[in-house]
């Protein structure tokens, strides 16, 4: 990886994880009234650590190989432990999901700001200002 890419890599990965988590939380909110739906979430810390330590899913070297991401992927998305389970088997608690969602959005914006600062720094280094 070249130096510029590695300079931006950490925050770029964080941004992608945040955006993925946003989609999962949006799915939970979308399914707030669906019977038997189980709320999902991913552990941002675990995922980030996995990325930092380089222990991702196994690489495939041929297009006919089975995708190892599928098997690993299932374990990475966890189920939310409900505080007050409801009678219809739905584990979405709107208060919890909204809180997690707004936190995730704020952290996404924070990461975006960090990324922007890094890019601005690089740009001013390139321009020699």
């Amino acid at each position: 990886m070249n130096k510029i890419a590695s300079h931006l890599d950490f925050h770029a990965q964080a941004l992608m994880l945040r955006s993925r988590r946003n989609e999962i939380l949006a799915s939970n909110i979308a399914n707030a009234a669906t019977p038997n739906f189980k709320a999902r979430d991913l552990s941002f810390d675990d995922q980030m650590q996995k990325h930092a330590s380089g222990t991702g899913p196994l690489k495939v070297t041929h297009s006919n190989h089975l995708d190892t991401e599928i098997n690993v992927g299932r374990d990475r998305i966890l189920f939310r432990d409900p505080i007050n389970p409801s009678m219809d088997g739905n584990t979405v608690e709107l208060a919890v999901e909204q809180m997690e969602f707004s936190e995730n959005v704020t952290r996404y914006q924070t990461t975006l700001t960090f990324l922007n600062n890094r890019i601005t720094g690089l740009m001013s280094a390139i321009r020699g200002e």
């Binding site: 941004l15 946003n22 989609e23 949006a26 799915s27 909110i29 009234a33 599928i70 914006q109």
Partner: protein, 138 residues
């Protein structure tokens, strides 16, 4: 069933489902108190059936939305009322009042509109984030 590509699919389809729910509530409330001559003809409250649609059925990667898979009438019996002077009364002088519980419908309406709002909120928040992301580095 069409693919779930992004948050607009997730929340958009959830909003459509909640709208179907609101429509059934409207139909139920419109028919509340209507009177029929027989038990079979009497109006019964309609309820949508929600089902989760996963973006990837094998992987179950946590991305999913909700669709209405059917609309069903409840099995509760309509109320049998003795009204011998009513034009549609049966031979014994009874009429049947629609099986609609207004309180239940009102609660349903409030809940559906609240969840619709939640989905709108999600979309507008994430759309704002996307706009900021597009301008990254400027």
């Amino acid at each position: 069933m069409s693919e779930i590509k992004n948050v607009f699919d997730i929340s958009g389809r959830a909003m459509a489902s909640q709208l179907v729910r609101l429509n059934t509530v409207a139909s139920n409330l419109a028919n509340a108190g209507t009177i029929s001559g027989s038990k079979e003809e009497a109006y019964r409250s309609l309820k949508p059936v929600f089902a989760t649609q996963f973006s990837n059925a094998i992987e179950r990667n946590g991305v999913s939305t909700v669709d209405v898979v059917g609309i069903e009438a409840i099995t509760r019996d309509p109320e049998r009322v003795f009204m011998p002077n009513h034009p549609s009364a049966d031979g014994d002088g009874y009429v049947y009042r629609a099986a609609v519980d207004e309180n239940e419908e009102m609660i349903e309406m409030v809940e559906a509109s609240r969840q619709y709002q939640n989905n709108v909120e999600v979309i507008s928040t994430l759309r704002g984030l996307m706009m900021r992301t597009i301008n990254m580095g400027k």
